[in-house]
Amino acid sequence: MVRFAALADLKSMKKNDVILLAALVVAAFAAFAGISWYSHISTREPQAVVFLDGEEQGRYPLSEDITVELCQDDGSYNILQIQGGKAEITQASCPDKICVRHRPVSGQGESLVCLPNKMVVEIENGEESGVDAGTR
């Protein structure tokens, strides 16, 4: 009897309820598909990831020309320049300037390192040619 009554309540749902339900489910799945497609596209974009003292400080897409000053609390700095799809360090406070002399990087997994300042710039999602292109 109770079961039957519950069934009657279930039938009290209007047609609009079912439409609403279906619309929300479809919208949720569409939004989910859209978001995962978008993040798939955006994470494939090559970008320079900056680490200071092992911690990620920022991500800069190689597609945009930009100059970033990476300053640290102790006064040391590196200036990262992204131009023409390549990243390089143009100026730095470090004594050896190895990072400044490093050629511009754009390949997958390539990096710019400044040991005195504990700074690392790493390329993510870059082209796979990388080192081979340099040594060919």
């Binding site: 519950a6 749902m13 209007k14 929300l24």
Partner: protein
């Protein structure tokens, strides 16, 4: 009036206990904010068996009580945002008369989550939280269906009980 007060007190206590149960048994699906919303069951019952004003009072009192006992000011703000948006939407949906209790409950569940996400985006200032939205819309919908069907059963029995009581509960729908 006395009976109405007693009824309201009972519903408030029930909503409070439901919140506590959900606090004790959280559903963990890896996305924060997924929950059944048992307390909404009581708010919907109040909305349909008493009136809008008392449903609002019930909702606010419950959120304040829960916030003060199990939560903190931050969680209270999130609950309040979700609860109020959900309540406003449910009142509009009920007046629009397009949906049954289940439809109203679905909208309530979904907009509770939407309200919380909006506040979270505002507080944390990252739009990346919107990535949670599809999952929360879906979970809100499912929770809304379940709570809606339960509400329909409860409302039918309660209305019968109220009428059988012969008490004039002054059940104005507006």
């Amino acid at each position: 009036m006395a009976k109405k007060t007693a009824y309201m007190g009972m519903l408030t206590a029930l909503a409070f206990v439901f919140s506590y149960i959900e606090f004790l048994l959280p559903i963990n699906l890896g996305v924060p904010g997924v929950k059944l919303g048992l307390a909404n069951l009581v708010v919907i019952v109040a909305l349909y068996t008493i009136n809008v004003r008392w449903a609002c009072t019930l909702s606010v009192v419950r959120i304040l009580l829960v916030g003060l006992t199990f939560g903190n000011p931050a969680s209270m703000v999130y609950s309040l945002a979700g609860g109020m948006l959900s309540l406003v939407i449910m009142i509009i949906a009920k007046r629009g008369n397009l949906f049954s209790v289940t439809g109203v409950s679905i909208l309530g569940g979904v907009f509770h989550n939407v309200g919380q996400i909006l506040v979270a985006v505002f507080v944390v200032e990252t739009t990346s939280l919107l990535y949670y939205l599809p999952v929360l819309v879906l979970s809100g919908t499912i929770a809304g269906v379940l709570i809606g069907i339960l509400s329909a059963i409860l409302i039918r029995h309660l209305k019968k009980a109220i009428q059988a009581d012969g008490q004039n509960m002054n059940r104005k729908e507006e």
